[in-house]
């Protein structure tokens, strides 16, 4: 629990998951690992927030899930991005860009 990323901006988790899935279908564990790795181990996604986020994305039909066998033969649920999810990702990326730029301007100006 202690590893839960302390400063993940609210609402950005959905975006990170969508971005990860934009690379290709993945399962929950894979998603968490990917974010952990790519962020240079700065972000650790707690499973307690990952699964609720995945359910949220499913309800919004931004991702779709299907049961497949993993490399080790274990049955896992694999998530993939839908067309709507792709659009949502674009939207969130843009909004996030604005936000970061705005924050940066404020910080530099100070």
């Amino acid at each position: 629990m202690a590893e839960r990323a302390p400063d993940l901006l609210p609402g950005t988790l959905d975006m990170l998951v969508l971005k990860t899935l934009a690379r290709g279908p993945n399962h929950g564990y894979g998603i968490a690992q990917h974010i952990h790795r790519i962020s240079g181990e700065a972000l650790t996604i707690g499973e307690g927030s990952l699964y609720p986020a995945l359910q949220r994305l499913l309800v919004n039909a931004w991702v779709r899930a299907e049961w497949t066998a993993s490399d080790t033969g274990r049955k896992v649920r694999q998530y993939s991005l839908t067309a709507a999810g792709r659009k949502q990702l674009a939207r969130e990326t843009r909004d996030f860009g604005y936000l970061v730029a705005a924050i940066a301007r404020v910080m530099e100006g100070a």
Binding site: M1, E47, Y51, P52, Q55, R56, A61, T72, V76, R77
Partner: protein
């Protein structure tokens, strides 16, 4: 999409949940494997994965929350709990549901009548813009009198005020419907009739200006029953009174103006009719207001016009009668005399509803008193006040829903009975129905009531952190207010009941002036091409076995009154200040007076020899004689009302011809064969056998193609004239009794509860030497104090409210002491009875046991 997903997820949530558990399990395994790969021992890896993962149940729970209806689930849980609670206390539940259900049902049923008659009269679109003209003759105290074609023409000429004006006059025909000669009710209408009501034909067309009385528009009902709703009905010929009418159109399913009419035909007024005011009356003139014209402005316009007529030395001679044209709203026209009783009933039913609510609140207050522990525990283990409030309001809503459903059932039953009531305006009442909007209304008021009655107990429950004694005193406050309100409302209803019942009783003592027992009556339509029909019928009627005597007449008493008209007296001029020469006429066969047993005062009655060929004669009633021939005898004088001069040959007793609560106008009886104007005839038989079949038999035997209708005993007709009063009396008594019962139950409950709570204290008092009689007196006093406030308020309220009854009272003055005393006595007795048992229980408490009680 999102909503659909939510619903889908929510519906399959059990499967999804187990899948989620699998998924999270797999995730943990993978994590463990990775940790082992990093060199941890299997046991350490397991523990670490567990730690990393934290509480996987928590993750599952939060994931589940994403599936849509998380906020709903606790509500459903509450509802299930509430249902268990309701089942657990069946008596309280049933009492609450029955109370609110009955009140809601009565209220909804009355609102459904109100809607058809007044709020949305006959379902006509923007009926507020339709005015109905009628004549008022102030000097004769006549209002709502029929107009002649002249008023129709005049209103039509006011194009600045009205956008469409139409007149209608009654028609009744004999038609073959389903192989049986039947009487068909219709209206002759001017071309704009349907336009005034904004009505479009369902099939075919309505009338053109060029149409003559050879075409007809039929009602939706007739189209359904006689033409199987076939489009080919347009163009077919309908035989009415043996004359062909080509059907040109069908009216819409909801067009019932006026109620009960089956066909409309065009009417074309002769130039003479359009000129002669006060003659050859038509039934009604309907006028649609031009956009932006208010009813008040239209009335003003008409009044100015009438004032102008009077100053211009009106040649029609109506001005001296105090002639006015009244414009009434369409709802006024439709509801007629029902308006006052309907609002009264609605008020009574609403009072019951309020009393019912107060009682349910009392019930719930005493019930929640027993749930304080439950609430305290819930609060202690972490429930928020909001959650408790939600649960309590769900309990109330559930109660409301159940009572609403009960109420709709009651209303449906009541509405199905309304059409069968014996009272005037039947055709209108048969149109009353319960639709979805009214059901929603019923459900809504039931919910509102239950929530309102749930609020007080709920608020109390939530004040658990206050001292118990304070809560208790707050509850007492609530209960006193509710009790006083209940008793006050009950008193108002009971005073109303006794005023109405006293009036009804007084009216039932009124003798109509003739012997109404053993009289069978029925109407028929004279066949158009059978000249000897009436004579033959008269003979056949008299020859019937078991018939003491038989008469023909038009009209008959208690069927709407005679034909009213002005008249002249030969050799007399009317002077200012004298009673106006105005009265009503009946056209009767010679045996009429003997059959009805109307006493002959002087001269002779009509005789069989007064035929069409004989000199025209008439008989007048004693009211006519005393009003127009005071101190002298009218016999030998000649009057002219219908068809020229007729000599008065006799005076008979005056009767109540239309209603028991007011006497008839001065009445003239003409010999029927001498005035053969009206197509309708009534048969009256004096017989101790069932008369209806005899009438039908005699008519059929005389001419099989003649329809017989409206067959009833004279007693039934008189009863129907009291119908509104009877129904009002019965319903208001039932409502009053219901309130009384509720107040009794409420007070009994409250006092029982107080006695229960104070058992120990009473025990101590008794142990210390209080006498049981003192305890008894104390609680009786409490009950009377609680009820007494309500009683005083109620008497004051009744004094104020009785003004709404004024028009419905007969020989009972407002502030009638017996009525008020009776209501007060009934309430006091009931209150005492309600308090007596718990009070006596208190006085018999055994101190020993009471002190061990806690």
């Amino acid at each position: 999409m999102k909503l659909w997903n939510r619903i889908r997820f929510w519906l399959t949530r059990t499967r999804l949940d187990s899948e989620l558990a699998d998924e999270i399990g797999a995730h943990r395994e993978m994590l463990e494997r990775q940790l082992r790969g990093e060199g941890l021992s299997p046991a350490d890896a397991h523990a670490a994965a567990r730690r990393r993962f934290g509480n996987d149940l928590g993750a599952r729970e939060r994931s589940r929350d994403e599936w849509g209806f998380a906020w709903l689930e606790p509500a459903l849980r509450d509802a299930r709990f509430a249902l268990r609670l309701l089942r657990h206390q069946p008596l309280v539940t049933v009492a609450a549901i029955v109370t609110v259900g009955l009140a809601v049902g009565a209220n909804t049923a009355i609102v459904s009548v109100l809607r058809t008659a007044l709020l949305d009269p006959l379902g006509i679109r923007d009926a507020g813009n339709i005015m109905v003209a009628s004549v008022r003759l102030e000097k004769l105290q006549m209002t709502g009198a029929e107009t002649s074609a002249v008023e129709y023409r005049e209103l039509q000429e006011m194009t600045d005020t009205f956008s469409a004006v139409a007149a209608s006059e009654p028609r009744e025909w004999t038609a073959e419907l389903g192989g049986q000669p039947s009487r068909m009710l219709g209206r002759g209408v001017t071309p704009d009739y349907f336009r005034v009501f904004g009505e479009h034909p369902l099939a075919g067309r309505f009338f053109h200006r060029e149409d003559r009385e050879t075409v007809a528009v039929i009602s939706y009902g007739l189209w359904q029953t006689q033409f199987a709703a076939s489009p080919s009905a347009i163009g077919t010929v309908l035989m009415l009174d043996g004359r062909p009418y080509r059907i040109v159109g069908v009216a819409g399913p909801r067009f019932h103006v006026p109620a009960g009419v089956q066909a409309w035909v065009p009417v074309v007024f002769s130039p003479d009719r359009l000129r002669r005011r006060g003659y050859n009356m038509i039934e009604s003139v309907f006028a649609r207001l031009r956009d932006g014209v208010t009813p008040a402005r239209a009335a003003d316009r008409v009044n100015r016009y009438v004032a102008g007529l009077k100053t211009s030395n009106d040649p029609t001679g109506m001005a001296h009668l105090g002639y006015f044209i009244d414009l009434d709203s369409f709802s006024h026209f439709v509801a007629g005399d029902l308006r006052r009783p309907l609002w009264l009933l609605w008020a009574a039913a609403s009072t019951v509803l309020l009393v019912g609510c107060a009682n349910v609140a009392l019930l719930l207050t005493s019930r929640t008193a027993g749930r304080r522990r439950e609430m305290a525990i819930r609060l202690a283990v972490g429930a928020t006040r909001w959650q408790l409030l939600r649960q309590l309001s769900i309990e109330s809503s559930l109660l409301g829903l159940l009572s609403g459903l009960a109420g709709i059932a009651v209303a449906a039953l009541a509405v199905s009975l309304i059409g069968r009531l014996a009272m005037p305006g039947k055709a209108l009442l048969e149109l009353v129905s319960l639709d979805r909007r009214l059901m929603l209304y019923g459900l809504a008021i039931a919910l509102a009531c239950s929530l309102a009655s749930g609020i007080a107990p709920a608020l109390q429950l939530l004040r658990t952190n206050q001292a118990a004694a304070m809560v208790r005193s707050a509850r007492r406050g609530f209960q006193r207010v509710f009790l006083a309100a209940e008793v006050a409302a009950t008193v108002v209803l009971l005073v109303g009941t006794s005023l109405l019942l006293r009036s009804l009783w007084a009216l039932e003592q009124v003798r109509p002036g003739f012997d109404s027992s053993h009289l069978a009556t029925g109407f028929l339509l004279r066949p158009p091409n059978d000249p000897g029909f009436l004579d033959r019928l008269d003979r056949n009627l008299r020859a019937l076995p078991g018939v003491e005597s038989a008469a023909l007449a038009y009209p008959i008493p208690f069927s709407g009154g005679g034909e009213t008209s002005g008249f002249s007296i030969q050799g007399r001029q009317h002077f200012q200040g004298q009673p106006e020469f105005h009265g009503e006429a009946y056209f009767v066969s010679a045996a009429y007076f003997a059959t009805l047993r109307i006493p002959l005062v002087s001269g002779r009655a009509l005789a069989d020899s007064d035929t069409a060929a004989a000199p025209r004669v008439c008989v007048v009633d004693s009211l006519f004689a005393s009003r127009f021939f005071p101190g002298g005898s009218p016999i030998g004088s000649k009057i002219a009302m219908f068809a020229g001069w007729a000599q008065i040959v006799g005076v008979v007793g005056s009767i109540h011809g239309t209603a028991l609560d007011h006497s008839s106008r001065p009445t003239i009886y003409y010999s029927m064969p001498q005035i053969p104007y009206f197509p309708s005839r009534a048969v009256i038989l004096r017989t101790s056998l069932p008369g209806g079949p005899l009438i039908r038999q005699a008519v059929k035997q005389t001419n099989a193609s003649v329809p017989v209708f409206d067959v009833r005993s004279m007693e039934d007709r008189i009863a129907e004239s009291l119908g509104i009063r009877r129904i009002l009396g019965i319903l208001v008594s039932v409502f009053g009794a219901l309130c009384l019962l509720l107040a009794m139950v409420g007070l009994h409950g409250v006092v029982s509860q107080i006695v229960g709570e104070r058992t120990v204290e009473i025990g101590v008092r008794l142990a210390l030497g209080a006498r049981p009689a003192q305890i008894l007196a104390y609680f009786l006093g409490y009950g009377l104090a609680a009820g007494g406030t309500g009683l005083v308020l109620g008497l004051a309220g009744a004094g104020w409210a009785q003004q709404w009854l004024a028009g419905l009272l007969y020989e009972v003055r407002p502030f009638d002491p017996p009525a008020f005393a009776a209501a007060a006595l009934a309430v006091l007795t009931t209150l005492l009875a309600a308090v007596f048992w718990p009070a006596r229980r208190a006085s018999r408490i055994d101190p020993q046991r009471a002190l061990r009680y806690e």
